[in-house]
Amino acid sequence: MDPAAIWHRLLPLSPVIRAGRLFVGAVIVFAGTLLPGSHTTESGAITRAVIGVVVIAFGVVSWLVTRWRVEGNDLRIETGLIRRSSLRFPLPQIQAIDVVRPVLARIFGLAELRLRMGGATAGSARLAYLTASHADTVRAQLLALARGTAIQPETQESPERVLVRLPAGRLIGSLILGSPTVTVLVMAGAIAGAAALSPRAAIGILSSSSAIAIGMVTVIWRRLNGAYNLTVAEAHDGLRVRSGLLDTTAETIPRGRVQAVRMVEPLLWRPLGWCRLEVDVAGRQHRGGENNPERRQLRAVLPVGSRQEAESLLARILPDAPRERTRPPSRARWKAPLRFHNLSWGHNERCAVTTTGRLARITSWVPLTKVQSLRLVQGPAQRGLRLATIYLDTAGHSVHAAIRDRDADEAREQLGELTVLCRAARTAQGFR
């Protein structure tokens, strides 16, 4: 079956799954009125029924008018009843492909396919929902097309080599030592302290801080749900990151799409030697979608792991990370007293690495082929101390590599050298 030839539809079950999320929300909102004892009026019930029917009807219409197919090197999605839109997504520009499966979709064996495109204005293409096996096949085919190889009918999941598996115990440990937990504990301590002095004040604090507490618990839950059972594997079509407790996400980052890598070592994890490794990919954050997992633009390929694990993983993602690093001049201590002990940077002809951070130590690696522009910045305090900072701008969103507080003359020389190296890296890549 040639996938280029025919228009595909999404699964007929899709509107139900989509509405399902709304339905759950509606139940929560109307839960009070559904309880026995609270009198439900007939008109209220009718309103609810009408809302339900309208939601389902919208879903069905949206499903009816949506179709997609692969045309040459593009994925084309047509949708919309009144405002008909035909979206074209050039496959060679795919930055990453995600297979997202919310709980409800998992129950029915469905999956959503999401393509992350490059460019500041490009969004992401979404196919919700396909059957889970079909989604995997389509992903493999799209990735093959993105690489420029023709799809064979038997293009299936390629074999993979597992690099890292995250034990649940360590994940929970890391969450306990994370900042939300610390916040909750500090708040609990404050409330306990207040209670010892005056119970009345404690109740006041409790009621006002409960919203924050709920928020923190949500954050912890989301991290647990997001990173549970995480597996990083390497296949010939890229790096695969799978994880999830209730909602699962499987992400594929094709080779050479990594804009930057960042390693974060929070203060609380330092005694245990743990760190977090994150990968930055180009493509705009897609806000307000119906599913949450896409919020995580900066993907933690290793939410918590030992330095050794992080370094072996880094070696797979960026094979030629520079080893040596140099420290800034000691007068930089006056400009950045908290950061100073973490500042350093190094580079070779392929990649630059910088470290910074006040409490947590943040190490960023940027492949020079991905550097978009370079900036040399000198603020008033830096001018007084003859220091300067070089920024390496990348198309990623969260990793900001900066070579901070170097000697001004050295920084100028390095800017020149980095300019040449970046150009050489671009040329080597086949571009000019």
């Binding site: 520009q93 930055q95 490059g118 460019g119 500041a120 799409r257 804009q259 180009a282 991905k370 978009q372 522009s373 370079l374 900036r375 040399l376 910045v377 000198q378 603020g379 008033p380 001018r383 300067a388 920024y391 701008d393 990348t394 198309a395 990623g396 969103h397 900001h400 001004a408 003359d409 100028r412 020389e413 800017l415 020149g416 050298e417 300019t419 040449v420 970046c422 150009r423 671009r426 890549q429 571009f431 000019r432």
Partner: protein, 202 residues
């Protein structure tokens, strides 16, 4: 438009007023460029915004100052008409303070105008700016995704425009204000042409 406005060979980069660092960085960066330029024509390569940008900034500062002074005057006049006691001394002090602030911000604005400079090299565009915080950006032509020419109402009245260079990185944010519209058009076309020739993927 007079042809001398295409470039400003007569307006030599005024290194005495430009921030020291930016000047040095320009010199340091020169060995990098493939063009084996001699020290004499290097100085000509740095281009600057039109001198009219200084006038425009002065007019802007003047407008804001006049507005602030007018508010003080109107308030005083209203009190006078209403028959309330008028504190003339305060009004005078306020007006003097506003005038002083206007003069100071004009000086500052002029220094900032003089700090802008750009240079087209073989593979990249250099833009330097800033007095308090001096910045030097290196934007390779191949990395430019698109180029905007923007002219607001005040800029249009002075026949000026701002050229913005966009790369895939949101933090790049390079722009050159106060170009004559001819120069802005030339720069845009030139950059677009070079960008096409040297385009690099993400």
């Amino acid at each position: 438009m007079e042809p001398t406005c295409l470039r400003w060979p007569d307006v030599q980069p005024d290194f005495s007023v430009a921030p020291r660092v930016a000047v040095q960085s320009a010199v340091i960066l020169d060995p990098v460029s493939d063009t084996s330029t001699t020290a004499t024509d290097q100085e000509e390569v740095w281009l600057r915004p039109s001198p009219r940008l200084g006038t425009m900034r002065r007019v802007e500062v003047l407008g804001v100052t006049a507005l602030a002074a007018a508010i003080v005057l109107v308030m005083t006049a209203i009190r006078f008409v209403a028959g309330a006691p008028v504190d003339l001394a305060t009004a005078v002090i306020l007006i003097v303070a506003i005038a002083l602030a206007g003069v100071l911000s004009d000086r500052w604005a002029q220094r900032r105008v003089r700090a802008w400079a750009y240079r087209e090299r073989d593979d990249d565009l250099l833009v330097r700016r800033g007095v308090m915080v001096s910045r030097l950006s290196v934007i390779p032509y191949g990395r430019m995704q698109f180029i905007d020419v923007v002219a607001g109402p005040i800029e249009r009245a002075f026949g000026l425009a701002t050229v913005r260079m966009h790369t895939a990185a949101a933090s790049s944010d390079a722009r050159i204000p106060g170009l004559t519209q001819i120069e802005a058009g030339r720069l845009r076309d030139h950059l677009a042409q070079l960008g096409e020739a040297k385009a690099a993927g993400l």
